[in-house]
């Protein structure tokens, strides 16, 4: 049904665009959009910038995931760390971090570094928050049990703590991935020399309407793919651990 609705909407869009009722400056025909995307692909421009953005997202995500999980586990186990970090976590959810983007650009330049660092910090908080919640939600007898079985400290973490928190961690990673994508794209749109955000901003200032629509669709597809990928991992883990 949803497919039909989408086809219907696309048809309606095309009809309005063709009828000349709306200016092609805001309402391009789908054909023109497709053509603009094709031109961008043919010149090699699209894949270059897509690759840059994807790389930034992956690196930022890796940084946010490792540091967020580590900090979350530490905060869950050690009350002083938790006490120090929890107000900060709550605070970051109510302040607009984007206001810091210009600062990151000034300090780390227009290249990849400013995007990766901003996106990693942006995404760190939900990962850390969910990991922390996962540790706090554990059965309090689990870790004493592990120790009484003679597990070494490292084994306690890798064999007991981490697997037990995994569902919460994965939930955090899903949120972190969204923020990574947002962080990278927003920074690129504000100040950059490459990437999908840069391409979008340039098409926007040039009022290349058809290209803007095409790029928005491609970028949303990239974000959707990133979301689906991490979601699929989460479902897979859930399925496997059920039988463990």
């Amino acid at each position: 049904v949803q497919l039909f609705v989408m086809l219907g909407l696309a048809g309606l869009w095309e009809a309005v665009a063709r009828s000349g009722a709306a200016s092609p400056l805001v309402f391009p025909s789908l054909l023109a959009v497709g053509e603009a995307v094709w031109r961008s692909v043919a010149s090699g421009e699209l894949f270059f910038h897509l690759g840059m953005t994807a790389t930034e997202i992956v690196v930022a995500f890796a940084l946010a995931a490792t540091s967020g999980v580590a900090a979350g586990l530490l905060a869950g186990l050690l009350p002083p760390v938790r006490g120090a970090i929890q107000p900060l976590l709550l605070l970051t959810f109510s302040i607009p971090m984007v206001a810091l983007v210009p600062f990151f650009t000034i300090v780390f330049g227009l290249g990849m570094l400013s995007k990766v660092i901003f996106a990693a910090i942006y995404a760190f908080f939900p990962v850390c928050m969910n990991t922390l919640a996962g540790v706090r939600g554990l059965d309090p007898t689990l870790l004493p049990l592990a120790r009484s079985l003679g597990a070494r400290p490292w084994q306690v973490v890798s064999k007991f703590l981490f697997p037990a928190c995994l569902p919460a961690i994965l939930a955090g990673l899903e949120g972190g991935m969204s923020l990574c994508v947002i962080g990278v794209l927003a920074t690129e749109m504000l100040a950059s020399l490459f990437g999908m955000g840069y391409l979008l901003a340039r098409a926007m200032t040039g009022i290349e309407t058809a290209k803007v629509y095409g790029l928005v669709l491609v970028t949303l597809a990239l974000a959707y793919a990133a979301n689906r990928a991490i979601h699929a991992v989460r479902l897979q883990v859930r399925k496997e651990t059920r039988f463990a």
Binding site: Q2, P87, V98, V101, F103, I106, M204, L215, V216, L220
Partner: protein
């Protein structure tokens, strides 16, 4: 650990923050930090005071506050209306809710150029773009709130022979309101981020525009004043909304 203990650790955080600020100040005083990019906190405070006295801060703050409040109002009203419609009609829910959730999870920054093409550079665009950010939490929380209404209460209302108006007024509205308030608090932050982004991308006025232009100037002192202003604005507003929200939750429970 009880609430008291957590509060004690909260003090530790404030202490850490103060130490950090003091360290920054000391490093700046010792000439270890580039004063153009990392101005001392005291220099920022002095600049802030001067900008308050001259009216410069208020001049740039006001359009942003207006746009955020406008976007927030549009998001709250349309999110509540759409949420009610979705919860009232099962087929509309099945048809429209999944795509809306997908849209919620996608990066809304990317759509900015389309808003600009449709609504130009002005105030309307900023309000609608902010509302586009803010509508989702209101919508999702309203739907969740309505679908979560205690079944016993619904049966009770029916057996008491309540009319539609009475049911809405006595059962539905009080049950949904706390969730709705949670949605509103998130909507404020989201709508505010939308407005700021729009100002940062293309605007001749507002804090967002100042953030970009002052970061690009040689001395970044003013930039830090604007960052501190924006953060304070958001923290005050969300704490007010949180206070209201907690009162509603208590009232619902008690």
């Amino acid at each position: 650990m009880g609430r008291r203990g957590e509060r004690g650790w909260g003090l530790l955080t404030s202490g850490l923050a103060l130490t950090l600020l003091a360290g920054w100040e000391a490093a700046a005083a010792a000439g270890r930090l580039d004063p153009l990019t990392y101005p001392a906190p005291s220099a920022v405070a002095v600049a802030a005071w001067a900008m308050i006295r001259s009216g410069e801060l208020a001049l740039h703050l006001w359009p942003t506050v207006q746009a955020i409040l406008g976007a927030f109002a549009v998001a709250a009203a349309s999110g509540a209306a759409l949420g009610l419609a979705l919860a009232a009609s099962p087929w509309l829910y099945r048809l429209a809710y999944p795509p809306l959730l997908t849209l919620y999870s996608l990066p809304k920054v990317t759509v900015f150029p389309i808003f600009m093409l449709f609504f130009g550079l002005g105030f309307t665009q900023r309000i609608l773009y902010g509302a586009f950010f803010g509508i989702f939490p209101v919508l999702v929380n309203t739907v969740a709130g309505i679908r979560d209404v205690n079944r016993t209460l619904v049966v009770l209302a029916r057996s008491l022979g309540m009319g539609r108006v009475q049911y809405w007024q006595k059962i539905l509205f009080p049950s949904v309101l706390p969730m709705f308030a949670t949605g509103l608090r998130m909507a404020f932050v989201y709508a505010g981020v939308g407005v700021l982004l729009s100002e940062m991308f293309v605007s001749a006025s507002g804090i967002g525009q100042r953030l970009v232009s002052t970061a690009g100037s040689v001395r970044m002192t003013k930039y830090f004043v604007y960052v501190a202003t924006v953060f304070t604005l958001f923290v005050v507003a969300t704490n007010l909304l949180r206070w209201w929200e907690e009162r509603l939750h208590r009232w619902r429970a008690g």
